[in-house]
Symmetry: C3
Amino acid sequence: MDTIELRIRTGATFVTDLTRQVTDFCRGRGDGLLTVFVPHATAGVALVETGSGTEADLEAAVERLLPAQDIYRHRHGSTGHGRDHVLPAFVAPSVTVPVLEGVPTLGTWQSVVLVDPNVDNPTRRVRLAFLAG
Amino acid sequence: MDTIELRIRTGATFVTDLTRQVTDFCRGRGDGLLTVFVPHATAGVALVETGSGTEADLEAAVERLLPAQDIYRHRHGSTGHGRDHVLPAFVAPSVTVPVLEGVPTLGTWQSVVLVDPNVDNPTRRVRLAFLAG
Amino acid sequence: MDTIELRIRTGATFVTDLTRQVTDFCRGRGDGLLTVFVPHATAGVALVETGSGTEADLEAAVERLLPAQDIYRHRHGSTGHGRDHVLPAFVAPSVTVPVLEGVPTLGTWQSVVLVDPNVDNPTRRVRLAFLAG
């Protein structure tokens, strides 16, 4: 298994595109499975289109479905931070992508993104792990 | 890694059962991990029971949680198509299933299904990738 | 591939922490990918913090988003059991975690949990599958 851990500066950005880093990591590695894994309890990974409005749509959907209000038992940090802790149950912090000849088999409109509602932690780690086969 | 790409005709069907294709692909392959991966930005993969009403329940739940209304930034295609682009953040386009002696270790009531809210693209590709171990 | 199937007594508990069992299983196994897989159609797996209120917050969020009311086509068992069958489309029954030198690369606040809304089945099976690389 080949693996690296990235440090990503997200700041207050809800959706951060990781596709370039993922593509760079896979290059030259042949066939196998790539797992993109976020070792944080308040973030997720998703495969969505970027650059056409979905980033804002996803942020609005999360706010509608899991509002950052004072309704959570888990309280610390910013108001509604308890919501950030519920998010990974729905937007999981792990996704696996088949890789062929060093190229992730993403569709034309798929990007790998970090979903990070947590404004209290501006820097995030992301592990890329490739198992050749 | 052994891998194939299926072409699935979904038409306007929200949930399409892929269990037979998955089972056929795994047969004879021994032990390993199977990743079912959809290279599209407006579809997901899920493991649910089929044939007892859950297909309709899932479609209704998606419509309730992510309504196909004119509330999205991402606009093109049918009304509410922006919703289809948010779906994969919640119903991910990748799921990994352990395989033993060529048999996916699915439970009795689990089927592998393609979740496709997108009525504008009647045909979908699905990648099956098996990594032996 | 090394694999075991656990039997977990969940009873009426919505969130059950599996981190200890996962950590024990990985010990001594070197590098690879671990898939935690639930072979049931009414349960999911998640990576969340435990012990700080998120268990209750997650249960409340599921009840708000997928209420256990008599609104589902899939009817048998307790009222609203159809909801339990929709849950795995959003909280998937499979998650993959990279393992380094026999240690899952979970973050400090991440626990592996079984999410089981189904009060009719008090015992659940969970498969751990490790593919070395």
